[in-house]
Symmetry: C2
Subunit: 493 residues, 2 copies
C-alpha cells in the first residue's frame, strides 16, 4: 500500500542518479576516450560469446542491483566493447571520434525529444533545416528538400519510394496492383540496401536490374542505356537509377555526369547513394569525383561515416521543391499535426517521415561543423586522401602486398601474399590458398587486439582486405604500423 | 602544404576536446537535468521561429568558432529546447528521465558502434538478445525472435512485411505483381503508421480496412470477422490484423483474446501494436489488459515511451522460431557477413534488419532494468495508474472538466468547459466554441512555459485535451497543479 506521502515523492532519486551519471562519465572519459584512443592499448578484447555472456552477467532479474555493481557493469561493457575510435580500427566505414559531435550527442540524449513538431523541438526543427540547406549547397542546389533518416539504407529506400510516387501517385492509396512492372537500375557493386528496399517496397529484387561495371567497379553508362531499353522492350517500366558515389568495397564513384545524361534521356529518377562518398563534396580538391551530382533528383549521404558525426547521421537530400516528401509520406494524423496551432504548421515536419518518433541527428553534425567550419571538414577529407596515398606508396614498396586496383577514394583493397605463396600464381590451388589468408590474419589480429580491418571476396576475386582510412585520429605512423602488422600476422602462412 | 611532422599529428586535440566535453557535461547536468526537472523552472521557453533562428546563430560557415562561443551554443540549445523530462511535460508519450538509462545512452554514444556483427559489437549482440528474451517472456513466450527498430512505426511496418512474406515468400524476389490484392485490418484509432506502412510497402492505404470501434475506442471483433469475410467475397486476400494495445489518443486496449480467435479462424497474422501499452505487461495488477497477447504472431513495444528508456527504444517481438526475420530481410552481403569467420556467424544479426547501420538501443534499457529490476519497472507502471486515478477523481470534483470516457490506461481525455460555456450544451455554436478552447489554453501555456499537454479532435468529437501521466518524476501535487493550471489558463474563455 502506497502512502499519501509516497505519492508526493518522485520514484527517481535525482542526487543518486546524478552521482551515477557522473561516475559513468568518468568511466567513459577514461576507458573509452583516453584508453580507447591510445595506440598502446588494445582495439578489442576478444572473448568467446559464452564467456562474455558470463562476464557481463546479462540476466535481467526481478530486483535491482546496487550502484557499485552497476558501475562495474558499465566498466565491463566499456572494456569488452570494440574501441571504434581507436586509430587502428579500420574495420568499418565509421571510426574515430570528434569531441564536439560527441558533446552534441550527449546533449541530444539528455534533451530526449523528437523531431516531429516545432512545439517539442523548436531548436532542432530549425537546425535540421539549416544543416540540410548546408549539405544541399555542397551538392550544388540552392533549393530543395531533405530529411534525416535512421541510416543510409533508409535514405536509399526513401528515394525509391519517392521516385515511385512521383511517377505513379496512385500507388499510395491503391498499391502496386494497378501498375505495370517497375524496374530499378543499379550496379552489382552498389550497396545491398537497394535490393533490400526493392523487396520491402513490394517491387521485388528481380526487378533490380544490375548494370555492368568496369574493372574499377564503375557503372558503365552505355550498358545502363541498353538495359533500360531492353527492360522497356520487355514491357517493364524503368523509373529509377541508383548510382553510387563511393562504393562500399572498392570506393568507386560511378560516372554521375554520364549517367545523368542517360536518366534525362529516359526521364528516370536519378538517385545517388553517396552514403559513403558524399563527404568529398567538402573538399575543393576531390569534389570533382562527384561531378554531375547536381543533376540528380536525390542524394543519400551519411555524415556518420567519413565526417565522424557519430552513429547515426544520414540524410536524404532532394532537388524537389514541390513538397513531394510530405505528399508521399503524410498520413495527416490529427493528434500530432493539428492544423489550428498558433504557429506556422509547416514547421511540424514529422509527416515527411515514415517514422513517427524521429531521433535528433542534426545537433551533433551542426556543432561539429560550427566548431571546425566547412574548411575544417575539408581538411579532414584531404588528409584522408594523403594518408591513403602514402599507404599505397608504401604497399608498392613491400613485396607481400598486391592491390586489387588503384584506389580512387579512401578504400584500399589488397591481398596480402604470404612468403609461401609468392611466385606461385600459376599453381592450381593458389586462389584457394590465397582465399584463406585474410580470414586467418583477421582471427589473429582480433584475438591479439592489435587492430581491426575487414576482408571479403568480390565477384571472382577471392578474399582480400579492405582497409579504410579517414579517421581524424590516424597519423602516418599508423599506416606504417598497419603494414608491419599485416606482415607480422601473416608471415608464416 | 602539409609537412611530414603534421601528418604524424592527429587532427583532433584530445585535451581540448575532453575539456569541451567536460564543460558540456556540466551544462547538461545544470540546465537539462537540474533546472529541467525543477517545477519552479519553465517547461519551455517559447520563441517565434525567426527570433529563435537568430538567437541560435544557426548558420554554418567556412571557419570554425572558438570553444567559448561553442559552449554558449550548447547553453542556448539547452535553454530553448523543451524540457521533456520536466514533471509538467504531458505533451507526448515520452517524458521524464531515468539516470541509469541516460548513463547507458552516453556510453552507447561514446562507444559508437553498430549492431550488425559480433565482431564490432560483441557485448551488444549478446545484450540485445537477452533483452529481447526478457521482453518476450513478459508477453508469455519462452522462445521466438525479435529486433530493435528505429521506432514503433518501423516495428509495425516490419510486422506487415514479415506477415506478407510468411504467406507469399515469392514477394521478396517478384514483388506484388503476381499476387492477389492483399488487405490489412485495423481500427480507425490505431496508429497512423499502419497506413504509412501500407503505402510504403506498396500495398496501398485503400487496402487497410478499418474495423469499427466501440465508444471507448476498442476494435469490435464481430465487425472484424464480418469485414474479413466481406473482403474475401470481393476477391481480396486478408493477411494481417493489426490490433492496438493502448491506442495513441484514448489509451484503449483492443480485446486481444477475442481478436486472436478471429485471426485463428481465418488464419491471419495477428500483430499487436503495443508500442504504447506494452509496458503494462510488467505490472501484475494491470497486465490483464493484454490478456491474449501470447496468441499473437508479433508484438511491437516501445520502452522509450512508458518505461522512460529514452528515444528511441522500440522492439518488434516475434513468436516465430523459423528465422523468418532473416529470411525475409536478408541480402547476404559478403563484405559484411562473411561466412568463413572464426566464430559462429549466427551472431552476425545484421541481416535481420532493413537497416545496415543500426544503433545500439538495448544498453540503456538493459542498464535501467538491471538497476531497478522488473519489480521496479512494475512499480512505475502501477504508480502511473494511481496518479491517473487520482487525477480523474479530482477532475470529477471540479465543475469545468468533462471526461471523454473513463480512462482504462494512463491517457486521460477531457474537455475543459470554461465558465462561459457551462450549461450551454444546447446552443447551436457550442461545439464550435468548445473546439476553440483547447488551442487557446495550449497557446497560453506554451507561451508562459508552465506546462505542456496535447489536444486533438477525434472523429466527431471536437478538440479535447489528452493528458498522459507516467513519468516517474511526477508526484500527486503535479496532478493538482495540472487542474489548477488548466482552470487558470481557461477561466476567462
Ligand atoms: C555505399 C553505401 N550505401 C549505403 C550504406 C548504408 O548506410 P547505413 O549503414 O547507414 O544504412 C553504406 C554502408 O553501410 C554504403 O557503403
Ligand atoms: C499506438 C502507437 N503505435 C505506434 C506508435 C509509433 O511509435 P514511434 O513514434 O516510435 O514510431 C505510437 C506513438 O508514437 C503509438 O501511440
Amino acid at each position: 500500500q502506497t502512502s499519501h506521502r509516497d505519492l508526493n515523492e518522485p520514484l527517481i532519486d535525482h542526487i543518486e542518479g546524478q552521482l551515477f551519471l557522473n561516475e559513468t562519465f568518468k568511466i567513459i572519459v577514461e576507458e573509452v576516450l583516453r584508453k580507447g584512443t591510445d595506440v598502446k592499448e588494445k582495439v578489442c578484447e576478444w572473448k568467446e560469446p559464452e564467456e562474455l555472456a558470463l562476464l557481463l552477467d546479462l540476466e535481467l532479474r526481478a530486483t535491482g542491483e546496487p550502484q557499485h555493481s552497476l558501475l562495474q557493469r558499465v566498466k565491463d561493457v566499456a572494456k569488452y566493447s570494440v574501441k571504434t575510435s581507436h586509430p587502428r580500427f579500420y574495420n568499418q566505414q565509421f571510426a574515430g571520434v570528434d569531441y564536439h559531435s560527441l558533446a552534441g550527442r550527449f546533449l541530444t540524449e539528455a534533451l530526449n525529444t523528437n523531431l516531429f513538431t516545432y512545439e517539442v523541438a523548436p531548436a532542432f526543427v530549425l537546425m535540421e533545416s539549416e544543416v540540410l540547406r548546408g549539405l544541399r549547397q555542397m551538392v550544388g542546389w540552392t533549393e530543395g528538400d531533405g530529411i534525416f533518416c535512421p541510416g543510409g539504407s533508409t535514405s536509399n529506400i526513401y528515394a525509391m519510394n519517392l521516385a515511385r510516387y512521383r511517377f505513379f501517385p496512385e500507388v499510395k492509396s491503391q498499391g502496386l496492383w494497378g501498375l505495370p512492372r517497375l524496374t530499378i537500375f543499379t550496379s552489382p557493386e552498389s550497396h545491398y540496401s537497394v535490393k533490400k528496399g526493392a523487396a520491402f517496397l513490394g517491387l521485388g529484387t528481380d526487378n533490380v536490374i544490375l548494370v555492368k561495371v568496369d574493372d574499377g567497379g564503375h557503372m558503365i553508362p552505355r550498358d545502363l542505356d541498353e538495359k533500360i531499353m531492353l527492360a522497356k522492350s520487355q514491357g517493364a517500366v524503368p523509373f529509377l537509377v541508383s548510382c553510387t558515389a563511393g562504393t562500399t568495397v572498392q570506393g568507386a564513384f560511378d560516372p554521375l555526369d554520364l549517367i545523368a545524361g542517360v536518366c534525362e534521356k529516359h526521364k528516370l529518377w536519378m538517385h545517388i547513394d553517396a552514403a559513403w562518398g558524399g563527404s568529398v563534396l567538402f573538399s575543393k580538391q576531390h569534389r570533382q569525383l562527384m561531378k554531375g551530382a547536381d543533376r540528380a533528383d536525390s542524394v543519400a549521404w551519411n555524415p556518420h561515416k567519413m565526417l565522424v558525426a557519430g552513429l547515426q547521421c544520414s540524410v536524404l537530400l532532394l532537388r524537389d521543391t514541390t513538397n513531394l516528401l510530405k505528399q508521399c509520406h503524410s498520413a495527416n494524423a490529427t493528434y500530432l499535426f493539428q492544423q489550428d496551432k498558433f504557429y506556422d504548421v509547416n514547421l511540424d515536419i514529422g509527416d515527411k517521415s515514415m517514422q513517427c518518433s524521429r531521433k535528433v541527428d542534426c545537433l551533433k553534425l551542426w556543432l561539429m561543423w560550427k566548431a571546425v567550419g566547412s574548411d575544417g571538414l575539408a581538411e579532414r577529407v584531404d588528409r584522408a586522401f594523403i594518408h591513403v596515398r602514402y599507404l599505397v606508396e608504401q604497399m608498392k614498396k613491400r613485396e607481400g602486398f598486391h592491390l586489387l586496383s588503384e584506389p580512387e577514394f579512401v578504400n584500399v583493397c589488397f591481398w596480402y601474399i604470404p612468403p609461401s605463396l609468392r611466385g606461385k600464381e600459376g599453381n592450381a590451388d593458389y586462389q584457394e590458398r590465397l582465399a584463406k589468408v585474410a580470414p586467418i590474419i583477421k582471427e589473429r589480429m582480433v584475438k591479439q587486439g592489435t587492430m581491426m580491418v575487414g576482408y571479403q571476396p568480390l565477384g571472382n576475386r577471392v578474399n582480400f582486405f579492405r582497409v579504410i582510412v579517414f579517421s581524424p585520429l590516424v597519423s602516418q605512423k599508423d599506416m606504417d604500423f598497419f603494414l608491419d602488422e599485416i606482415e607480422r600476422l601473416g608471415n608464416d602462412l
